[in-house]
């Protein structure tokens, strides 16, 4: 997404800047598909965002165990 979202202190200003509103909503839409991309020792794993009723989280499960014995 290009361009900054304008800052508006009043509702009238916001309503007049339809481009900023569009960008803000596109940003929110993009964040719906947010994911953490974790690369360890050259191996990449992707962990998507999850929304709950009131919050959001990305759960990353890792193991430090290495093959031994």
């Amino acid at each position: 997404m290009d361009g900054r979202i304008g800052t508006h202190q009043t509702l009238a200003g916001l309503l007049a800047d339809k481009e900023s509103v569009r960008k803000a909503i596109e940003l929110i839409n993009s964040l719906e598909r947010l994911e953490a991309v974790v690369t360890i020792n050259g191996t990449t794993q992707r962990f998507p965002i999850r929304y709950t009723g009131t919050g959001a989280y990305i759960e990353i499960e890792l193991s430090t165990a290495t093959a031994s014995e």
Binding site: L15, N29, G55
Partner: protein
Amino acid sequence: MKFPTDLAEYIRNPALMQALLNRVRALQRLEIIWKVDGVVTRSPVKVAGQGAAIPVVLTTAAPEPELDLHPETVVWWDRILAAGGSVSEASILLADALIRAVNAAAFNSKVKYLLPLLGDDIIAARVPLRDFIDAGIAGNVGFTNADFSESTGLQGDGSTKRLELEDNTIADLGSNGGLGWWELDAPVGLNVMLGGYRSTTSAGFILYTSSGFIRFRWGTSANGVNTTLPMENAHYYGQRSAATLREIFKDGTSLASNTTSDAATGTGEQMVRLMGGQRDTETFYWGGRCAVAYMTDGTLDAGEVADLHALLNTYLITPTGRTPSTGWDAETDTWLAAISSAGGTVSEASTIVANRLIRAIKGATWGSKIKYLLPLLGDNLAAALQPLRDTLGAGAPANANFANADFSESTGLQGNGTNKRLTLTGFSAASLGTGGNGGLGWWENNPPAASTTVLMGNYRTSTTAGFILYSSSGASAFRWGTAGNSANAGPGYTANPSAHYYGQRSSATSRFLYLNGSAVDSDANSDAATGTGERTLTFFGAQNASDNFFWGGRAACIYLTDGTLTSDQVAELYEILQAHLITPMGR
């Protein structure tokens, strides 16, 4: 859901606006939940000004270093775990350093069995660090965790506890053999540290003590070799390196040898024991404290014996902090001083008995409840009358008519039932516990015929109420207050038994009589125990308003308590007196 980008949609549909705001609100609370090896860490987003960040702190724990253990250590550790024992990493490393040092020594292959007594419990302590003779984990007879700690070693009791190895393992040492033992609390008298006897003769393969020496035998009894001095807290080692050489070492130095030819017949026919021995039907239990025991093939030269001593000291005795017992307990010291001051004498052997007795009592959770204790030890009456415990500050009882002839350490103090008594002048039942409580203990081993008389205690000045252990026509009884509120060993009990009597009043409604540690009767009538401060506390009798009583029995031990022992504690006290006084003195 995907939100429309046209603002007009939101103006037309307030619910859509609400959903959009909810989405923004949710993103305000975004967090990363890390699950690393099952450990959950939460990293929330931090919104500040026009920026936002999710700070994440992850630490990579240093990997547990793999213990690079000697194979013998690994086997030892596995055996401990398989047996259900426990051992700390520090002890494992200590054992590992020890066995590596042994492996690096010139005599390595000559050490066939090594019991370092390491670990957290009696199970671990019984597992040999080296076991080339397949002696196995030493079987346990009587030891508990309380008998063992890494910093002190393994404490025997001289009467019931020992370790048992697989039978006939002496033969596995080779044609020769050696027995090693590091003692920290040397007992006295005839006893066996380790080894095995032949099954039906006194010939054997043992390291043992007798009065005045420590001896190593590898074959017939006559060909043993011994020191000229009594056993001390030291490292002893005996070995047979040839038919014509048996030698005994102390702290790595040779003390004596025997060169009579002995074929060492019967190395393959014994029951092998540690902390004791077994000869046919004769049983030995070691009363000392062991720091390490081991067996060799018997072929160490003098330099190697010295090196082995230094090695054990460096890698086991010193790092575990195992130090020999030194000096006497403070109460034993006080007792010895009182004996000396009274013109009495006591042998070292009896002092050891007294010392163990007072330490055993001291080691009990209820030990402070014993207020006064006459163990009746010493070479003469002056010694026998000195209390080993005297928190009353009463000192020795005043003697009425007892003579030296009435006393023997191996039996006790004999009363006559007519004119011999002991009195704690200035002390009464009120001197013992609080709130009118108190306890009277007496170990009788030569009771008189059934009669009505008193063993110990005191009466009120003008009534038959009293605070006494007594015998009513032979029936043992305990009174602490009015005569009607006694606890009595009634029908079914032997009149005047040879037994350990103990009576106590622990509250106005609790008076118990115990025989040999078990309650035989109680009385729960409320009794204020009025008059505990009257008359003098007497042993071998008492005096009431109209009668003088004398006990004609023989005391093996007399004591006073504060009256608050539980039933279990009474039983434990009985066991301690039996194990640490009656049995060792042969009473």
